[in-house]
Symmetry: D3
Subunit: 135 residues, 6 copies
């Protein structure tokens, strides 16, 4: 194991994903600990530790990728928490998911929005209503 | 908001998806009302309101698209209800999903069939058995 | 080999895909002849030979599935030919692809439309313009 | 129905998927019995009955395909059971899923690993820990 | 046609995609003019005209969505041009695509990077080398 | 850069992908050298260097994953070369791709088979015909 890279990744994981990320790594301990290690070392120790984009920009990219891919609701849950952790507002997260409609269609966007709704409720994030449907 | 297009879309949504569609729009009110508005205005006020294919044909296309895409079981549930609403028989719905096997493989088709089974049970739709397995 | 099922599949393949389907089967002869046999026996001898949907309805389902799946332009080419062969109009084919926008987004729909454009040009199918953009 | 092919497929289904496969076929009896028949006749009577790869190799391919495709957790559950049935070790199954990381990314791999974890717990399969994370 | 929304969308399309977007709309004129109209009215007149994210953030989301989806190289080409048009640097575009590795794997990222390479060459964008491989 | 892991990865890349892999890494030098480095260090220095599955088994998994994913023909080309390099026969490669039909459908399998056909022709691999279609 590459201790330095693991530590850098772990610190980044804590900064970005926080408790949700830690839970994923721990749930892998008895079944696929190396998978947890690669998440820490590669995804966070390498990719998330790169320069060139800040953490808010990286979370926009992550959310768009997970929304588009579909079937990744558990990971989207962790990364919507992460988006809030690094300073994106709930409004920006909803905007980013909404922006995917023309590229990936309504169904994947709806699934992602309902995942965000669940996260916002867990964290008591209040979203100021910005458009009224009047229905 | 474009009132006329919204109204046209709302009427079409009610005709096609009925209560299930209404529930989706309402569940978006506090989190992403514009997403609900786009479903109404664009998906139903524009696309579903086009000429050239009737509503039964459109539901065949919708079911094939959602079956193939995967991970869209909630939307497939709404649109299997919709398919029955516009006059497709349960038998035709099963045929359309079954027809996707060569294109998208068994797993996505199985997921869609079990979604249909759930919808048919909710609505007490009886499917006359047309093939006996004898096992 | 199941001669009867193969023959039934071959006749159906000729009826639906015609020359384009035959070319696919023949191009498999030296590399994976069984794959060609399964296309004939299973996809056409079983699935396409089922009752419950007519060939026009089946081609709507096929086109929606291939459009949504993405990366299947060669198969979409064959099946847009097939859609014309079984009596769908160019206008209905364009409508079916257009109907997929809300489900799968613009990029896959654009790819499918350009495939259709190519097929229509090959066959000198003239599409009466039904909407003017005025640009 | 092609009795011989059905019987060959059924025997192969029992050998590979066992009880889990039988349950899938039975759950289709009232809704889409032909779909069950095609799983038996085509997937098992044809594809799984081919020579050229043994059943362990076939299950590696199946698991990779289902992991990559996403949204197929029920089918992955059946086929992780099947992988154990034909003699792959829990360790080899975890390796095969882990090997997909560079091709399909962490989210689909995580979903597959958690499906495997669930199967191993159901069967009391103990996985000797081969790497310690030390966290 | 909704003239105001079309005009707003057209202006936005010109601002973001420029010539590449215009070429797509024009190539649809004889085959599916309404598809072109929806790209203008809905994707640009509605989605891209929303507040809450600026155009650079929107292009990060678009690029992540198209990279992840796969098979959308023509659209990715247009939107990498667009990303440069709205002020993202070549370096930020490469970073955004690279950030998708853990979510969608190397193959889709490689395809997107080679699309970016092609766009940068077309525009004579010089990317300052920031890492030396030394091979 | 982690020299030891890079060297281990480079050696493994040469053993598995050979010239084709080298060409990919080199083509990234001016645009995204870190992406090339991650392919070497992570995909080959970590994943391919793991124990638990041999290289033939790993290539079966890789081919199944790339076939299923779709739109990865360039990567599939490299990895069909790689499969031959590590000792899989052309026949086993065709079998592995064929085995994916029930999971991912005919179109993705056809695309993969034609990629294999191209690779076998490049390398003058002769595939003994094992099934005669008689058409």
């Amino acid at each position: 194991m590459d201790t330095e890279r693991f530590q850098r990744g772990w610190d980044k994981l804590m900064e970005v994903d926080g408790e949700g990320g830690q839970r994923v790594i721990e749930s892998l301990k008895d079944i696929a600990p190396d998978l947890g290690r690669y998440v820490v070392e590669f995804a966070f120790g390498e990719i998330y530790s790169r320069e060139g984009l800040d953490l808010k920009q990286r979370q926009l990219v992550t959310i768009a990728s997970l929304t588009t891919q579909g079937g990744c609701e558990p990971q989207l849950n962790v990364h919507i928490h992460a988006a809030l952790n690094v300073g994106l507002t709930a409004h920006e997260i909803i905007e980013a998911i909404t922006h995917c409609i023309p590229y990936t269609g309504f169904p994947r966007v709806l699934n992602a929005i309902f995942t965000a709704k669940h996260v916002f409720e867990e964290r008591n994030v209040v979203l100021e209503k910005n458009v009224s449907l009047g229905i």
